[in-house]
Symmetry: C2
Subunit: 126 residues, 2 copies
DNA sequence: CGGAAGCGTAACCCATAAGTTACGGGTTTG
DNA sequence: CAAACCCGTAACTTATGGGTTACGCTTCCG
């Protein structure tokens, strides 16, 4: 429980195209803030703020090396969001069928008492 | 190619907590606009606009039934985003080596024309 | 040690997004 | 057919977000 705010921060972080592009850059290799900024047309402070959002979401970790700040990707915080997405796609239909199935089972149970509830695997898997 | 804008629309749609909650409601069963609005404290027009965003992102399909508009989830448009996320987590390290490998292949190709690109596994993996 | 390099932050501007109330069009119903 | 219902849209207000310039701190280097 309480994942909601995590999902929210990560989802917000991912919602911006610039931040998504930063993440894809960081996917390949760690980069200094300036190296990242140089790949965009927008100003360096703008990138700096995007990096802060990413940092606060946990998607990125930073390390000071000399006078430059190295950023590297940390995909861990994606998990709650990915789980949420997975939950959306998988149980969508399914659950309704399970409900229907369950209802059916109960109804049948009530009607003909004392009949073992076997033979219920392998419905329409398609 | 061109998935970028799809990802953007879906990512934006998902970024809002109200819209995420609407999606989870629709995961279990189709709902009329009013039924959805009734589960929130904000006004009905506000929900109506959230529904429009979801509609335009393709995450939701609507059908007019009498005087009410039934919304149902369509998780299809999530795929590009999910793919992008998957790409982030899996190929994180890895890809660098592939890139290096590929570059090496191209370089070699240019140098010695018409020589098949074999023998290139196991460069400096460190 | 003084200047340049590298970054983050502050202050500000502008566009967009989210909320509200008011309204209008289509549909059911008495 | 008039009233009630369901729902989207318009007009408007306010909050939020992303961009810019100006500035300050720390670190490297001559």
């Amino acid at each position: 429980m309480g994942y909601a705010s995590d999902v929210d921060e990560v989802a917000t972080a991912i919602a911006d195209p610039v931040r998504r592009h930063i993440l894809t850059l960081l996917r390949d290799e760690p980069l200094a803030a300036g190296d990242i900024a140089r790949r965009f047309t927008i100003s360096r402070p703008a990138i700096s703020r995007h990096l802060r959002v990413l940092r606060e979401s946990g998607l990125v970790r930073d390390e000071l090396v000399g006078r430059q700040r190295i950023y590297r990707l940390d995909p861990g915080p994606l998990s709650p969001l990915v789980d949420w997405l997975a939950g959306l796609v998988t149980t969508e239909r399914w659950e309704r069928h399970l409900d229907a199935l369950e209802t059916e089972v109960y109804r049948t149970r009530r009607e003909r008492r004392s009949s073992g509830p076997a033979e219920h695997r392998r419905e329409h898997t398609a």
